[in-house]
């Protein structure tokens, strides 16, 4: 449907349809973010033998996040006197816009996708790097030592973990022979890449958690060291934008892991009668749960350990994986 729209002649009707689709999609993602936060708090609660939110909206606290968001929107919007005012206002926008842009390229089923880009995977990784510019801008504009430290850490972490992230995906690209996310899913018909590329999967998962700035790699906002990291000075809806972009990336990265390694919408054998959307949702929820699980169970790493782990462990392992994959692929084609 999107393809037909893209090739039709431009006009206000087209603009309206695209605008409407984007708005609907934004609300779907907002809905996800609302319940992802609730799920995270609930799962964390259960793992720590607590109840989690259970007051607002029935026994399961179903309206807790809605209430929290309303509270955030009603809060006073403070800008420090000595902050760099234009950058302070611009930074949440720079951080959030790429987060929403990357979601457009993810194929949820074989029909439900917004932009079927030839270099979809590269597009995702490239655009997601832009958010760091927003984070560093925010940290500098706040004129606060804690936020500046957080921003520095975010930059160092992004540079260090983007490389193993890309390198680990190269194994998948070698096997599927395409950068297009649809083709990558199609290439997993015979076996998901989590089975064919287990090393790549582990490296990618670790690097993805680091790119998401979640525990155990949440150094840019380590609350016990840096108060709140790069968003110390932010309040109200500007702060909400940073949180929103973080959770939209959470959504996007979980979808990407599902597409790259868990076969996207492809069913398990003999279970093909269940529609693809359900399969995608199931695998996606599993990845989300694993990421929450990580957050609850691992302690935060130290800044120097973070760097050493990225450069001395993940990068060599990812490179070795590329070598191994290329070798195996050549051997398989010979015999």
């Amino acid at each position: 449907m999107i393809q037909d729209l893209l090739y039709s002649s431009p006009g206000w009707a087209n603009f309206g349809i695209f605008f409407l689709l984007a708005t609907v999609f934004l609300f779907v993602i907002l809905g996800f973010v609302t319940y992802a936060i609730l799920a995270e708090r609930k799962v964390m609660g259960f793992m720590q033998l607590r109840h989690g939110p259970n007051q607002v909206g029935g026994r399961w606290g179903l309206l807790q996040t809605v209430a929290d968001v309303l509270k955030l929107l009603l809060k006073e919007d403070t800008i420090p006197k000595l902050a760099d005012r234009p950058l302070f206002i611009l930074a949440p926008v720079i951080a959030f816009a790429p987060a929403f842009m990357v979601v457009a390229t993810i194929p949820f089923t074989d029909k439900l996708q917004f932009a079927d880009i030839g270099v979809g995977l590269l597009y995702y990784i490239a655009i997601s790097g832009l958010s760091t510019v927003g984070v560093v801008t925010a940290s500098w504009a706040s004129n606060n030592k804690y936020s500046l430290l957080g921003g520095m850490r975010a930059a160092a972490q992004m540079i260090s973990y983007e490389i193993p992230l890309v390198m680990s995906v190269l194994g998948v690209i070698l096997l599927s022979g395409s950068l297009n996310l649809n083709d990558i899913v199609e290439a997993q018909k015979d076996g998901w890449f989590i089975i064919l590329q287990p090393i790549a999967f582990i490296v990618f998962l670790i690097a993805a958690v680091a790119e998401l700035n979640r525990a155990p790699f949440d150094l840019p906002e380590a609350e016990s060291e840096l108060v709140a990291g790069f968003h110390v000075e932010y309040s109200g809806f500007r702060w909400a934008f940073f949180m929103l972009s973080e959770y939209v990336y959470f959504f996007a990265m979980s979808s990407l892991i599902t597409v790259l390694f868990l076969g996207g919408w492809l069913p398990l054998p003999f279970l093909g009668f269940i529609p693809g959307a359900v399969w995608f949702a199931l695998k996606f929820s599993l990845v989300v749960f694993i990421l929450i699980w990580f957050r609850v169970t691992f302690p935060r790493v130290r800044a120097d350990q973070l760097m050493e782990f990225g450069w001395k462990v993940l990068l060599p392992v990812a490179l070795a994986n590329i070598f191994l994959t290329a070798l195996l692929k050549e051997l398989l084609t010979i015999f």
């Binding site: 002649s9 431009p10 087209n14 760099d84 234009p86 950058l87 611009l90 720079i94 880009i117 030839g118 270099v119 590269l122 597009y123 990784i125 490239a126 655009i127 790097g129 832009l130 760091t132 510019v133 560093v136 801008t137 500098w140 504009a141 500046l148 520095m152 930059a155 160092a156 992004m158 540079i159 983007e162 950068l179 120097d304 760097m307 050493e308």
Partner: protein, 173 residues
């Protein structure tokens, strides 16, 4: 003729030029770097309009990291809240203006007489694959040489960085 592509091009080109002008006119170093972000991203957008999507993705991939590093250098190596001042003597400005005029004239003449023969090219079809094939078959030796040059640069940078804190422990990043 007002097609969607044209509107997109005008928008991206405006943002790119505005980013460039702001880069020259702003006085604080971090503001300049943020202006640079807009220029690079909209140039990547223009690449997409030209069907060079691989180039666009790589442009953003490389420059998002590079700009972050420039920003950190700007923060760490310049004075806090320092503003650049416009200084220059009268005749120097006139010379600069003449230089700009000459450059503008040269570019104008160059573009005005430019005549693209409208041959049908198939470069936009599967251009990622075509770039890969060209790099690894026709241009393999220059490509490998570039990687050697980069490696030499990397080693040189490490040696330069290590020389300063000889014998001092830690402080790696």
């Amino acid at each position: 003729m007002l097609s969607g592509e044209f509107i997109a091009f005008i928008g991206l080109a405006l943002v790119a030029i505005m980013g460039g002008v702001l880069l020259l006119n702003l006085t604080k170093v971090v503001h300049m770097v943020v202006a640079l972000v807009f220029t690079f991203v909209s140039i990547a957008g223009i690449y997409v309009l030209l069907s060079a999507e691989f180039l666009a993705a790589v442009q953003i991939l490389i420059y998002s990291g590079a700009i972050t590093i420039i920003m950190l250098f700007g923060i760490m190596l310049t004075k806090h809240n320092d503003e650049s001042e416009a200084k220059g003597i009268g005749w120097r400005k006139i010379l600069l203006f003449l230089g700009v005029l000459a450059f503008g004239a040269a570019v104008y003449i160059g573009i005005y007489d430019l005549d693209f023969t409208s041959e049908t090219s198939s470069l936009h079809v599967k251009n990622t694959e075509q770039i890969g094939l060209a790099l690894y078959s026709d241009y393999i030796i220059p490509f490998e040489l570039t990687s050697v040059v980069l490696l030499v640069t990397l080693v040189g940078a490490i040696i330069l960085a290590r020389k300063d804190d000889n014998g001092k422990e830690g402080d790696k990043e």
